[in-house]
Amino acid sequence: MLQRIRSACAVAMAVALSVTPLSAQETPQPGGALNMIVQPEPPILMVGLNTQGPTLYAGGQIYQSLLTYGKDLEPLPLLAKSWDVSEDGLTYTFTLQDNVKWHDGQPMTADDVVFTGDKFLREAHPRWRLIANTYVESITAPDPQTVVFKLSKPFSAFIYSFELSSFPIIPKHIYEGTDYRTNPANQNPIGTGPFMLKEWKRGQYIHLVKNPDYWKPGLPYLDELYFRVIPDSASRAIAFEQGTVDILRGGDVEGFEVRRLTGMPDVENSVEGWEMYSPVVFLEMNLKTPPFEKKEVRQAVMHVLDRNFIVQTIMFGIGQPADGPFAATTKYHTDDVPQYPYDIEKAKELIAASGVNPGDYTIRLMGLPYGSQWDRLAEYVKQQLEQLGFNITIQAVDPGGWSQAMSDFNFDLAFNFTYQYGDPAQGVARHYLSSNIVKGTPYGNNVSYENPAVDQLFAEAASSTDPDEVAAKYAEVQQILVDDVAMAWLFDMQNVTLWRPKVRNLIRTGIGLNESMDEVWISK
């Protein structure tokens, strides 16, 4: 069942069939420059050392990974043209594309992949390090075109470990034996992607140009990419209106601007291209702080927050109310979980049943420091919880303060959102496994949720090789977590991409604009 050999041409055909009819009928026109906004300006473009959004956006044109993932989350070939998973789920064999060259002319081989997985990312990438140290027994290169990953135990989500932000291929001949973080190539990145860094004017723009020796013949279509730096949100919207930039992606402008701009003529929009990440926004309730150790109190919190109001009013309709820990756009999500409709009376009953006197508690609520919509969200949660009788004080924090308080578990209530990376074992389990109650990261099990049944179900699902069994385990996990209200899940974030109609073939996969833009073209 899992033994699948995919040839590049079969998948290429599938991709060709899935593109929109408009662009399928048209012949791509080569040439032209594409203008985008990178917000905020990234510190570096080296994807192996920094996986923040801006770095991935611009760096994704320079670096590439073994695989990418479709909007349906199916793995697709990138630097690996085909792969094979053994029957026992322990051996992953990747065959690399032919004639791939680094930007400095050196050939890219299986040695680079082994170096990336065994040395570079194991040292520099916390998420890969965890996977590698838990599951990976060896990474070998039997010949220059083949890489073999041997696992010590089966890991059903392993195939989702090869996305750009998880496993970008790093040039061995440049980084081997050096201090990765101070290597001069970090400022002058060398990748295999369709575009190469030409110039980076700090505070103004990042200028990439076409890689003439790109491994896909005849590609990329575009000659140049500009990632412009525009610090003010209103100016970014104006830059798009005036045509200075051709694309706005989620987060570039505020929600009400998105609503206004989508209504303008000659503007295309889509929420696609985020399926791999599918961020879910949630309110973390520290289970070590009274009164949130009581399940009824947590359930009351779910009942008192009107998630439709949050999405429709505060987020300007951009998002989907969440009903549980798994984003609705991801595999294994189930609707078959306990529901918590907006109901203040029910919430008050639950508080009464819990025996808690809300007036006894003064609770700190830590907002997310990402702009006015997040401030309104904190104010809304405060006013709703005050209707139950709690005293809430909002803590104003900057990104550093937020991260520190979260990492130290020093919070009562806090907002957070995280990427799901295609599979619950990659992006969801980390928040609920009791083994992950570890200080030092804002993205672990920071609420200190402990439930042996949940631990076991996640472990069984991750190591199972039978998809039906995996789905059944994950459905059960969702039911337990939602009944327990391990967190108050608020909404699945949506990110609207806006672009001018002349830009064609823009969003092709589940990683959206982070995907190599080799097939993007501009209609003249």
């Binding site: 209103a234 009400f256 206004r260 006015s372 809304y380 405060k382 005050e386 803590q395 104003a396």
Partner: protein, 278 residues
Amino acid sequence: MSFTRRFAAHPGALIGLLLLAAVLFIAAFAGLLYPGDPWQSVGPPLLPPGGDPLYPLGTDLLGRDIAAGLAHGARVSLLIGVISTMAAVLVGVVLGAIAGFFGGWVDDLLMRFTEFFQTIPAFAMAVVLVAIFTPSITSITGAIAIVSWPPVARLVRAEFMSLKSREFVQAAVTLGQRPLRIMFSQILPNTMSPIIVTASLMVATAILTESSLSFLGLGDRNMMSWGYMIGAARTMLREAWWLSVFPGVAILLTVIAINLIGEGLNDAVNPHLRGRKD
């Protein structure tokens, strides 16, 4: 001519007094006029002014009543303005009096200390202080007091230096009065007029500073204030002007009122101007 008549002769001062009285009335009775929490949603979101007689000034993004926000915001603005000014005047008077009365190295030391504060731009320092001590009504009041006492100290010092060589002070010294008594019973009463005028204008500055801090997101997140209302709504100016215009007008009127009163006080208590209109 009495103080009251001199003050009343100033039409601007009377207008200012009326405006301030109105603001004080609203602040004092905010709880009765708009019972309940101004942070609670009461109506449909983003209702324009006049759209519903219940909410004459409209509602904001979360459906909160703008008029209720203004009334409760008046309390915060006036409270911070008055308390921070009182604290600043207290510190300024004590340091200025000691420096001016004793002179010599005490004066040098205190004035260098004052200059240290005066060399840092006041608003920048307030931002830093509030950021360090995390925004709360106490830290904001404290920060405004810390950045606004040096001019008072300078003023009081100058007054003390000129008054301490006057005959009535020397008489008190000859009578054997202790320095502290001389400072507070002989000299200080004679410096009250300029201090009162300065303090009245400082209240206006303090209200503006608080609004600016809130505008920048450094306000107390649990207190409704005018600066917060503008700061939260400024990105939506094109979509919902009423969210920022009404609190802006409130700040404008209050600050003008206090400035007019300050002018009137200055004219009324300044001995050099006394003969002018008599």
